[in-house]
C-alpha cells in the first residue's frame, strides 16, 4: 500500500511500486484531469506537481512519491493556479483542450518559482507539446497571470 497526499488529502493505492503515478491518478484514484499523451515524458500532458514543482507523472514510479505531496489540475484553492485558469479563460487558450491540464500545471510551477517570467523564461519552462497550436495564447495568458507585459498582441480586425 503506497500512501501520499493528493491535493491536500491523504490517499493510498494498493499497486505495484513501479506503476507510474499517472496511472495511479487516472485509473486507481479516478483523477482523469491528468492526461496520457506519450508515456515517455516527452509531451507533458501528464504534468503534475510533486512537492510544488512540475514533474511528468507518466515516468514517475508511484513509490517515488510515497509520503509526499502531489497536486493535480483538480486542486482547489491554489491562488497561482486559479489566476492562471482565469487568464486561460480570458485568452480563450484551449482548443481541443487535451494538453491544457499539463500546460497549466507547468505554468503554475513556473510562476511559483519565477513570478514575473520573461519570454525567454517562458520558452525555457514551457516544453509541453500542443498539437492544436495554442502556444501564442499560452504565452499571452502566462503574462496576464503574472502581470508582466505581453509580446505584441495578435492583430485582429
Amino acid at each position: 500500500m503506497i500512501q501520499f497526499q493528493l491535493n491536500g488529502r491523504p490517499v493510498q493505492a494498493d499497486v505495484e511500486p513501479d506503476m507510474p503515478l499517472l496511472w495511479v491518478l487516472r485509473d486507481e484514484l479516478g483523477h482523469t484531469g491528468t492526461k496520457f499523451g506519450c508515456g515517455v515524458g516527452a509531451c507533458g500532458a501528464c504534468t503534475v506537481h510533486l512537492q510544488g514543482s512540475a514533474i511528468r507523472s507518466c515516468v514517475m514510479p508511484v513509490v517515488a512519491v510515497a509520503g509526499q505531496s502531489v497536486q493535480t489540475i483538480e486542486a482547489e484553492g491554489d491562488a497561482v493556479l486559479e489566476r492562471l485558469q482565469a487568464a486561460w479563460v480570458k485568452h480563450q487558450v484551449p482548443q481541443c483542450g487535451y494538453c491544457q491540464s499539463g500546460m497549466l500545471m507547468a505554468a503554475a510551477s513556473l510562476l511559483r518559482q519565477n513570478p514575473h517570467p520573461t519570454d525567454a523564461d517562458i520558452d525555457a519552462a514551457m516544453t509541453n507539446l500542443c498539437r492544436c497550436g495554442t502556444y501564442v495564447r499560452v504565452r499571452a495568458a502566462i503574462h496576464t497571470a503574472a502581470e508582466t507585459p505581453a509580446p505584441p498582441k495578435t492583430e485582429v480586425a
Binding site: 506503476m19 486507481e28 482523469t32 491528468t34 506519450c38 489540475i73 498539437r131 497550436g133 495554442t134 492583430e155
Partner: protein
Amino acid sequence: MMGAQHVVADPGRRRFLLAGAALGGGLLVGCSAPTPEDRLGSPDVLPVREGHVALNGWVRIATDGTVTVAVPRAEMGQGVFTALPLLLAEELDADWDDVRAEPAPVDRIYANQAMMLNALPFGVEEDGWLVRAGSAALERLGSVLSLQATGGSSSIRDAWGPLRVAGATARAMLVQVAAQRWQVDASACRTEAGRVIHPDGQRKLGYGELASDAAKLAPPEHVRLKDPKQFRLIGRAAPRQDIPAKVNGSAVFGIDVRVPGMVFASLIQAPVFGADVAAFDGSEALKQRGILKVVRIPHAVAVIADSWWRAKQARALVKVQWTATPNDAYTSQDLARAADEALRDGFGMPYLMRGDAEGRIEQARKGSQASSQAAEDPGPRVLEARYHAPHLSHGALEPINCTARVHEGRVELWVSTQVASLARWRAAQVAGVETDQVTLHLPLVGGGFGRRLEVDMVEQAVRLAMQADGRPVKMVWTREEDTQHDFYRPAAWADFRAALDERGRAIAWHNRVAAQPPTNMATVRLLPWASSKLPDKSQIEGAFDVPYAIEHMKVQQLQLESPVPVGFWRSVGHSYNAFFTECFADELAHAEGADPVAWRLARLGAQPRHRAVLDEVARRAGWGTPLPAGHARGVALQGSFGSICAQVVEASFEGGEVRVHRVTCVIDCGVVVHPDTVVAQMQGSIVFALTAALHGEITVAEGRVQQSSFPDQPLLPLARTPRIDVHLVPSAHPPGGVGEPGVPPLAPALANALFGLTGERLRSLPLRPKVVAEATAVS
C-alpha cells in the same frame, strides 16, 4: 475558386468526372438536396429531458428558459459547441447566457451535406448548371448516407441554413403563443434576449413560460431570416462554451470515460502493414497481477487487464508470430520509384484542361533549342521541376482509444470520433446487430485533424468487448501505436513544366500529381466493394484550381498504389498541392524577374477575393520594406474549403536552424460567425503546418513505420512559435471553412522565404536547407 474567366477546353471531360463522382454514390446528377426547412426535424428526434420541451430537431427550451441546442458535430477545439448554437440563438433571439450545447443523437437531419461539397471536382464558387446540379447531387448523397461527420471544414457551411431556420421557426412559435395569450397580432410583438415583448413595450413573457404551449403548434412552413445588419450574436465575441471545463480537468475526453465494471485493453498490433497473427502464446502474461485475458482480433493480440498499465506492461510477455506478407520488404523508396515511373509514363487523369499547355510547352522547347544556337537571344524557354511531400502522421495528443460493451444483443460505445454515424454503423456491423441496438456516447475529442474520421478503433474495441463476457472494455493505444498505425497524409510527387515566352512570362503550365487517392482509400475501407479507381478530387485539390490566369493549363492526377494506408490529414490534398503550386509559381515569378506578390496580383484579375487577400497580406506584412540582415520574406496564397488564405513568412537561419520570426495571415472566409475562433484556427493551423514543414516525415522500411513516439516525430514547441498576426477580411459571402485553410499556405511561404535567404530552391518537404545540413555536420 475559378471565376468567369476560367475556360474549360473539354467540358465533356468535366461532365464525366462529375458523373463519376455522383455515380460513385449511386446517384444521378439532377437530384435536389434537402433544404434547411427539410432538415428542421421533429421534436421527438431529441432525447426527452425532464422540464424541457423540444420545438424541433435542434432545440429544447426548459421552463427556466435554458435553451439547449443539439450539435451534430464533434467538439475538437474548433468551437462548434459555441458557433453552431450561436447560429440558432441569433435567430431565436435567445439570451446567450441561457444557451447550452449538447451532442446531437444520430439522425438524418444532422447529416453533413456541405462536407460532400468537398468532393466536387471543381471550386464551389464556380457557377453554372453543372455545378449547381453536381452540388445538389452531392449534398443529397450526404443526406442519403446520413453522414454525421465533422471534417472538410464544413460545420458552419452545413449549419448556416438549418440552424438559423430552426431558431427562426422556434422563435415564430413562441411569439405566436405569446400573441395568443395577450390577444394581439403576432407581427406586432418583438423578441429580445429570450423573451417576447408585447406591442406596448412593457409586458414580457420568457421563452420558458411559452415553450410547452409552443410545442403544441405546427411549425410555420416559411420563416424570414434576419438581414445580416440585424445580427446581435453572429460576428461578435462569445466565450467558447467548452473552455471552462478544459481548464480545471473536468472535461471528459474519450480516454477519460469511466464505466462501472470496466476492464482495460492494450494491443500488440502487427508491425507490418497487412500482417496478421499466425500464432500467439499469452500464458506468461496471464500469470501477472491483474491480467484477465489475452485475446486475438484481426491484425492484433490484446491483453485485457484490470488496469491499462498492467495490460500494457504484460504485452512484453506475450509471444506473437506474424504471418508473412508481400509487404515485408516494402520501403518508402518503393513508392518513390513507383511515382517516378508513373510520372515518366506521362499518363494521368486530366482535371483541368485550358488551351493547349502541352503543345505550347513543346513549341517553347523547340524554340529554346533554336535560340540556344543563337546564343544572344534568350527566346522562349521551358521550366521544369519535380516536387515531393512525404507521408505524415496526425499526432493528435489524445491517443486513439475506444470503450465498448457488448451485452445481450446490444452495443454501448464511448468514442472520441469525427464520424458518429459511421461509428454506430461499424459497431453494429461488427457485433452483428441492428444500428438501433447501438447506444453511442460522444465525449470530447482530444484532437482530430482527420484521424478520427476513421472507425478502426471502433471495430477493435467492439471485437474486444465481444470477448469480455459482457464487461465494458476500454482500449487505449500507446503513442507508438498511434504513430505507427495511422492513416497517413499521402506522400506525393508533382512534375511541373511551364513554357515561358521570350520575355520570361509563363504562358503554359502543366502539372501532374502522383499520390495515393485518400478519399478512394477511405471509401474502400468502409465499403470494400467500392471502386478505388474513380477520380479522387481530394488528391488533386489545390492543384487543378490554381487561381492564376495562365493561358494554357493542364493538370493531371496519377493514382499510386501502396500498402501504406492513407487518409485525411488537415487540408488533405491542399496540404501538399499548395506547397507544389505556390513554390512553382514563385519559381515562375523569379524566372520572369518579377516580384512574387506582383507576379501573382497580375494574374488574379478575374479573382477579386484572392486579389484582395493577397493585397492585404502584403500590406500588413510590410512586403518590400527593409528587414534585419539575414532575414527574408516569402508569400503564398491558397483557396481551400470555401475560403481564401494568404500568408507571409519572415525567416532566417540562427544557430544552424531555420527560425520563423513572424507569420502574417489574412483570410477571407465569408461571413464570420465567431471571429475569435477563426483567429484561433489560423494560429493553430500555422503551428500545425510549421511542424510539418520543418519536421514532418513518416518513412517505411521492412513494411513498417520507422518513427514511433514524439522524439522521432517532433512537434513544434512553444519556444519555436513565431509571432502570428491574423487579419480577417470583411465579407458578405456565405461562410467558408476555417479549420483547414490556414494550413496550406505556410509551407510554400516558408520555402519561398528560404529561397530568398540562400537562393536554394527547396522542392521537398520537410524543408532541409543545405546550410542547416552543413551547420549540423560541423557541430
